[in-house]
C-alpha cells in the first residue's frame, strides 16, 4: 500500500518512476472505446463528474475575462465581450506581492528540501538508537495548528528584528517544513539499496562524503517531489503571511484576499487576481503532475 504513511517497507510512492514496483498483472493499455454497457455508464459518470468539478474553474476564467463590462449578473454567464482588461488591474495590485511570494517560496523550499534530504539520509541509512521515536516526535510538527505557536513565533521574530520581513517568513517556512521534507526524503531513500552506501563505506567514505558523492546524485527525483510539494505549500500559505508579514512583505495570497473589499467586490478583477495567484502552482501540477501525486501519497499531507 503506497498510502500508509510511516511504513518504510511499503512506501515506494516517492521513488523515481523507474523504480516503481512492477504491476501485479499487466493492464491492457487504456484508450479503448468501452465495449460493454457498464463501460459506457462508467465513462458517462466520469465525464459528468469531471465537468462538474470544472465549473468553478470555468467560473474563475470567464469572470476574469469579463473585464471591460464588469462581472456578469449571473456566475455562469459567458462574457459578451471577453477582454483581458481585468488582468491589468489585478496585475497592478498583485505584482509586488507575487514577487514577494516568489522570493519567499524559492529559498524556503530549497533550504527545507536540503535539510530534509540530510535528515532523511541519516534516518534511513544510519538509524541510531531512538531515531524512529525521535522522528515521530519531529513529525508532530507537521500537524500542529500553527495558531498554537503563533504568539511565540511573533515574539521570537520580533526579538531578532525580523518581524514583518520576507526573511522572517522564509525562516518560519523552513522550520515548519523540516518534518514533511524529512518524511518525504526518508521514504524516498528507503527505496535506494543500502548496498550502495555499504560499498562507499568499504571504500572508506564517511557519512558526509557518502552523502555528497553517492546520495546527492541519486536524489534528483526526491528533490523534484519534495520541491514541488514544498513550493506548492509555501506559495499557497496564507496564515503565516497574514499574521507575520508587514504590507511590504505580503505574499500574493494575502493581497488577493485583501481585494475582497468590505463594501463591494469587483469580481472580475478578483477572479483575474485568482488566476494570477493560482497560475504557478497549477502549472507545476499540470507539467509535473506525476511527481506532485507522489509527494501527496508519499507521506502524509498537511
Amino acid at each position: 500500500m503506497a498510502v500508509e504513511t510511516l511504513e518504510p517497507t511499503t512506501s515506494r510512492s516517492v521513488q523515481a518512476p523507474r523504480q516503481r514496483p512492477k504491476k501485479l498483472a499487466p493492464k491492457p493499455r487504456s484508450w479503448s472505446i468501452p465495449r460493454t454497457a457498464g463501460g459506457w455508464i462508467v465513462l458517462a459518470v466520469c465525464t459528468l463528474a469531471t465537468l462538474g468539478m470544472l465549473v468553478p474553474v470555468y467560473v474563475i476564467i470567464t469572470t476574469a475575462l469579463s473585464g471591460s463590462t464588469g462581472a456578469p449578473n449571473f456566475f455562469l454567464a459567458f462574457p459578451d465581450a471577453p477582454s483581458l482588461g481585468a488582468f491589468k488591474g489585478a496585475w497592478t495590485k498583485l505584482h509586488g506581492s507575487l514577487a514577494n511570494s516568489l522570493q519567499i517560496t524559492v529559498p524556503a523550499a530549497l533550504v527545507s528540501c536540503l535539510l530534509g534530504s540530510i535528515n532523511g539520509y541519516v534516518l534511513s541509512k544510519f538509524p541510531f538508537r531512538g531515531s524512529n521515536a525521535l522522528f515521530t516526535v519531529l513529525l508532530v510538527g507537521m500537524f500542529i495548528p500553527f495558531q498554537a505557536v503563533i504568539i511565540p513565533v511573533f515574539q521570537f521574530l520580533n526579538m531578532l528584528h525580523l518581524q514583518g520581513s520576507i526573511i522572517g517568513l522564509i525562516l518560519v517556512h523552513i522550520i515548519y517544513g523540516i518534518p514533511i521534507t524529512t518524511l518525504i526524503f526518508r521514504n524516498y531513500y528507503e527505496g535506494i539499496p543500502t548496498a550502495i552506501i555499504e560499498a562507499a563505506s568499504i571504500d572508506g567514505a564517511g557519512i558526509w562524503k557518502t552523502y555528497v558523492r553517492v546520495m546527492l546524485p541519486l536524489s534528483v527525483p526526491g528533490f523534484v517531489v519534495a520541491g514541488i510539494f514544498q513550493c506548492t505549500n509555501i506559495w499557497n500559505d496564507f496564515l503565516f503571511g497574514f499574521i507575520l508579514a508587514s504590507p511590504a512583505a505580503w505574499p500574493a495570497t494575502v493581497t488577493l484576499n485583501n481585494l475582497i473589499g468590505t463594501t463591494t467586490v469587483d469580481y472580475s478583477e478578483l477572479m483575474a487576481g485568482a488566476v494570477l495567484v493560482a497560475a504557478p502552482t497549477v502549472l507545476l501540477y499540470l507539467v509535473l503532475g506525476r511527481f506532485f501525486v507522489s509527494g501527496l501519497t508519499a507521506g502524509a499531507v498537511k
Binding site: 484508450w31 465513462l43 469531471t50 515521530t136 508532530v140 506548492t232 485568482a274
Partner: protein
C-alpha cells in the same frame, strides 16, 4: 549496514540541529502558549505573566461565550459533513476512474487540480458562486424558489436542537448553519481529489488474483466490492479520515476568503477566533489555540504512534 558506535553518534549529531529547532519551535512554543493562556497577558509589548486567578479562568471565560460555543458547533458540523462529502466522493470517484476505459489520466488530473490551489483562490471563486444576487440563487429562482438562502450571510440554523433563550449556559442554537454549507462544498471540492488519489493508490495495490478468484467463484460486482475491494481500501480510508479531519479542524483561509465570522458568528471557526483576538487578548487567543491543538492531537497522535509501532515491527 556497517554500523559502529562512531557512525551512530555522528548520525545522531547530524539529525540533532533539526530536532532541536523543531523542539524549540513546536514543543517549547506550545508550552509558552499554554502558559500565556493561563496568564494575565492581555496585550502589549511588556508581557504580564502573572497567573490568572482563579487558575484557568480564561478557559472558563471561553466556554461561557456565545462565540466560542458557535465555533465548536461550526467546527463539528463542518467536520462531519465535509468528511462525508470528501471521503465518499473520493471513494466513488476512484472506483469509477479506476475502471474507466478512456481518459483515465484526464479525469484524475481534473479531480486533483483543486488541490494545487490555495484555499484563498478556492474561497474567492466559491464566494462568487454563492453570491446571493448573482450566484446559484439565480438557478434556484429560475426553478421557482422565491426566497433562496442568503448563503454565507444566512443566519438560519437547520434542525436546531435547542432554544438558547431558556438556559444560562447554552448561548447558541445547535444545528446546521445554512451559512456553512457553501464553505463545506468549497472545502470538499478542493480535497475530494486528495481522497481520490489515496483510494486510487489503494485500488492499485489490490492483487488482481483476488478479483479473478472471486470472478471464478461467480461473485457479482457488488459482492466483489463488498467483500474484496472495500476491506482492502480500509487503510486508505483511515489515512483520508485522519488527514482530512485535521484539515477540517484547522480550517481558516477558506472561511476568511468566503465569509469571515458571519452574522452572529454563523461561519466563525477557531482559526478566525484566534486571529481576531491576536490584537486584543493574547490570553483568549492562546486558550482557543490550545483547545484547537488538543482537538488535533487527539486525532493525530494515535495515528503517528500507530505508524511508529508498525515500523518497529517491520
Amino acid at each position: 549496514m556497517p554500523h559502529n558506535v562512531k557512525t551512530s553518534r555522528r548520525a545522531a549529531w547530524i539529525f540533532a540541529p533539526s530536532l532541536l529547532v523543531s523542539f524549540l519551535f513546536v514543543y517549547v512554543f506550545i508550552g509558552i502558549t499554554v502558559y500565556i493562556s493561563l496568564s494575565n497577558w492581555k496585550i502589549g509589548t511588556s508581557p504580564n505573566l502573572t497567573l490568572r486567578q482563579p487558575f484557568g479562568g480564561t478557559y472558563a471565560e471561553l466556554v461561557q461565550e456565545q462565540r466560542f460555543q458557535a465555533d465548536i458547533r461550526n467546527v463539528v458540523v463542518f467536520t462531519i459533513i465535509f468528511l462525508v462529502l470528501a471521503i465518499l466522493g473520493g471513494l466513488v470517484a476512484a472506483l469509477f476512474i479506476h475502471h474507466v476505459s478512456v481518459g483515465k489520466g484526464l479525469f484524475r488530473t481534473v479531480f486533483l487540480l483543486p488541490y494545487a490551489l490555495s484555499f484563498i483562490v478556492t474561497g474567492v471563486a466559491w464566494r462568487w458562486i454563492f453570491a446571493p444576487a448573482t450566484g446559484v440563487n439565480e438557478i434556484l429562482r429560475s426553478m421557482g424558489i422565491e426566497n433562496p438562502p442568503g448563503w454565507t450571510t444566512d443566519t438560519t440554523i437547520l434542525g436546531a436542537l435547542n432554544d438558547p433563550s431558556g438556559t444560562d449556559f447554552l448561548k447558541v442554537q445547535f444545528g446546521i448553519p445554512v451559512a456553512l454549507l457553501p464553505i463545506i462544498f468549497a472545502a470538499a471540492w478542493q480535497l475530494v481529489g486528495f481522497a481520490m488519489a489515496m483510494y486510487l493508490a489503494g485500488l492499485a495495490s489490490i492483487p488482481e488474483e483476488h478479483l479473478e478468484a472471486a470472478n471464478v467463484d461467480g461473485a457479482n460486482v457488488w459482492q466483489r466490492l463488498r467483500y474484496i475491494v472495500l476491506p482492502q481500501l480500509w487503510p486508505s480510508t483511515i489515512t483520508c479520515f485522519v488527514l482530512l479531519l485535521h484539515v477540517a479542524l484547522k480550517i481558516f483561509d477558506l472561511v476568511v476568503a468566503m465569509s469571515g465570522s458571519g452574522p452572529g458568528f454563523v461561519t466563525d471557526v477557531p482559526g478566525i477566533y484566534i486571529y481576531n483576538y491576536l490584537t486584543s487578548r493574547y490570553d483568549k487567543a492562546s486558550a482557543m489555540a490550545i483547545i484547537l491543538l488538543l482537538l488535533t492531537l487527539v486525532v493525530i497522535v494515535p495515528y503517528l504512534v500507530r505508524g511508529y509501532r508498525k515500523e518497529r515491527k517491520a
